[in-house]
Symmetry: C2
Subunit: 392 residues, 2 copies
């Protein structure tokens, strides 16, 4: 059941954090080498036929035309086709989706996907927050990442009784998970009170409700499923994926308490995988802000509309809960190096499905995990990827 035409045979993630001592290219190479080394039966790097480079800010300087050649040079794919993908916050997962399409086309059997980002040393004028605006003279005034997500959060509070305590419970959960992840940017735990008492950024978000800006990279090696056994006795399969777009301006949104792009991407991905949300063993969702995770639960079908706050309150999404969400620590703890984020989520899920997630390991029953991103101008792009696999 499911699409299963592409296998993930390797994956790697760098340390996430404030990595002033490493350039974008070094981070990309680190993640890629980890991915190559993780291939169970080994792989000759020369066998990789094409590359995908997910990056939003591009190079350290934030210049506009990194192109795939920057990755090709960084990881030793010179000569081969390498494509740069930029699709807002889902950039990494979108690069993986393009890699899957390329393999499924039959043109390539082995494709590398690397997402990488340097966000910590950009000048303010080039920062992601500053870029998160379309430039409409009035509608987009003071538009930042926080103000993109805040209206849905406040409306969700009004419509469904979601509270600041629910949001803080997301942060507490993900920071606890992150404290077990040696690569996470934020290793410390926090309490509900600390979240509620932290400085206001944009109602209803305090600073601890917001994910950090992060440097980091992640990589996966994708393989034609028909030949995956050459590289692994137990490869993880791409069971399905979906991507979707939404209207750019808030007054055009169909749903003011959810993200239509997520809903549509999830619908397509579940249909392709042939499963319902009930069959998921875990998920890594886009918790760029605390309330985003609550909304994601609903958009992804983990619970009824409006029940997201209670879902986290009841502990259902803890590592020991019925559907662990962001066992890695999520964006809130692990960090959010945009181009790398989606790729890293896919690596985390592969490790979980194979029983290799060490201290973060959750119980694997049905063998399905879901990855999710939402972002771009006005939360207008989303990707969902469903992976299947199980421990040997």
């Amino acid at each position: 059941m499911g699409w299963n035409r592409v296998a993930v045979i390797g994956g790697g993630i760098t340390e996430f954090g404030e990595l002033f001592d490493q350039e974008l290219e070094q981070l990309a190479a680190d993640a890629y080498i980890q991915a190559l080394n993780s291939v169970d039966k080994g792989i000759d790097p020369n066998a990789i036929q094409a590359g995908y480079f997910g990056t939003v800010m591009g190079t350290l300087q934030g210049n506009e035309i990194p192109s795939g050649a920057v990755l090709a040079n960084a990881i030793g794919l010179v000569g081969k086709p390498v494509t740069r993908i930029e699709n807002g916050c889902p950039t990494g997962s979108e690069a993986v989706r393009q890699g899957c399409l390329a393999v499924a086309s039959g043109v390539f059997d082995l494709v590398a996907v690397v997402g990488a980002e340097k966000l910590r040393e950009l000048p303010t004028k080039d920062s992601l927050l500053e870029s998160g605006r379309l430039g409409h003279p009035t509608l987009m005034y003071a538009r930042t990442a926080a103000t993109l997500f805040a209206p849905a959060a406040t409306r969700h509070m009004y419509e469904y009784g979601t509270t600041r305590e629910h949001m803080a419970a997301v942060v507490v959960k993900n920071r606890e998970n992150g404290s077990l992840n040696p690569k996470a940017q934020r290793q410390s735990q926090v309490t509900v009170e600390e979240v509620l008492d932290s400085p206001l950024v944009c109602t209803p978000f305090n600073v601890l409700d917001c994910c950090p800006q992060t440097d980091g990279a992640a990589a996966v090696i994708l393989c034609n499923a028909e030949i995956a056994e050459r590289y692994s006795d137990n490869p993880v399969m791409v069971a399905g994926f979906g991507a979707a777009t939404e209207n750019l301006f808030i007054h055009e949104k169909v749903d003011q308490t959810g993200f239509a792009a997520t809903q549509e991407a999830a619908r397509v991905a579940y249909a392709m995988a042939g499963i319902s949300p009930k069959e998921l063993d875990l998920a890594e969702v886009h918790d760029c802000f605390s309330a985003t995770e609550i909304i994601n639960y609903e958009d992804l079908g983990f619970c009824e509309k409006g029940a997201g706050g209670r879902m986290v309150e009841n502990g259902e999404t803890k590592r020991s809960g019925r559907l662990p969400v962001s066992a890695s620590g999520g964006l809130l703890a692990k960090g959010h190096p945009v181009g790398a984020t989606g790729v890293s989520q896919i690596v985390e899920i592969c490790n979980q499905l194979l029983g290799r997630a060490e201290a973060q390991q959750v119980e694997i029953r049905n063998g399905y995990g879901l990855q999710h991103n939402i972002g771009g101008y006005s939360c207008a792009v989303s990707n969902v990827t469903i992976l299947s696999g199980s421990p040997n």
Copy 2:
């Protein structure tokens, strides 16, 4: 013979030029609507399942995260997956290649690819010339588009006796072709003397050796070849394509008088199409500078190494020659709105193969046309697309 798994069933190109009165989104929509309207048997826009958005500078403001959602909103694909591709100067042709892979994967039957760029009203600091540098503290100093291509031109003069008159002959040919193209940015013709007497930009290039910066857009509709007859009795087929990367720094280049990325992309594309250069009826190549076209002839196998100057001198690449090159006017006359350029070349070739190129029409014998781009930092990315078709 050839790959032939994807058909081009429609194409459109906007006016190219200094279009202060139109936004990026308007240009994209104009090209897309033209492409839809060009489908022989008509098409319901709702049948389009996915989109690819080729753009380098992104939005009018040059912000970094346009994402596919900007195109989705501009052309009515909201809800569907739309992916932004940026791969230096081959951005448009790379977006088409990704669209082809997506259709060949079996996941989508109908895909729209739109390339669009606004280069004329960017502040100098955000200009493409300024962005054409990697940021290396010394190696890339004073690195602009002209200085990226000039060393190969001067070395070609030294090694092969290529002259400034050869280069000027490229300009004269392409400007003459452009004078027949009502959408070209430069409609006037020039003489060899005018090229040689125009102001110096960077040895050996005078200003008339350089393509202009351009606003414009182009679009194609790609279709699973198996169902293309629903939309056209005579679709153009994608016979093959290749993309390749090269080392980023000039001291690392294998070939100082040619572009290794072009050579490799061409090798892959010819093999996929199952043809040799001799079977081509026409080509649209990346003539960003006059000498680039001469080098392209050699890299693409149109003539022996070092014979490119004589090829243009002998008139072999005129519209009436044995292999017409850039009958549209090329980048030198038509203009170079980066994300749109490659897409527009593919539309031009489709029109030529179908006998619909009006005043620019060349003779179609074997039914093959080739499209080519080279660019990115240090001429390190290239795409070649080979199309097959013939007039009804």
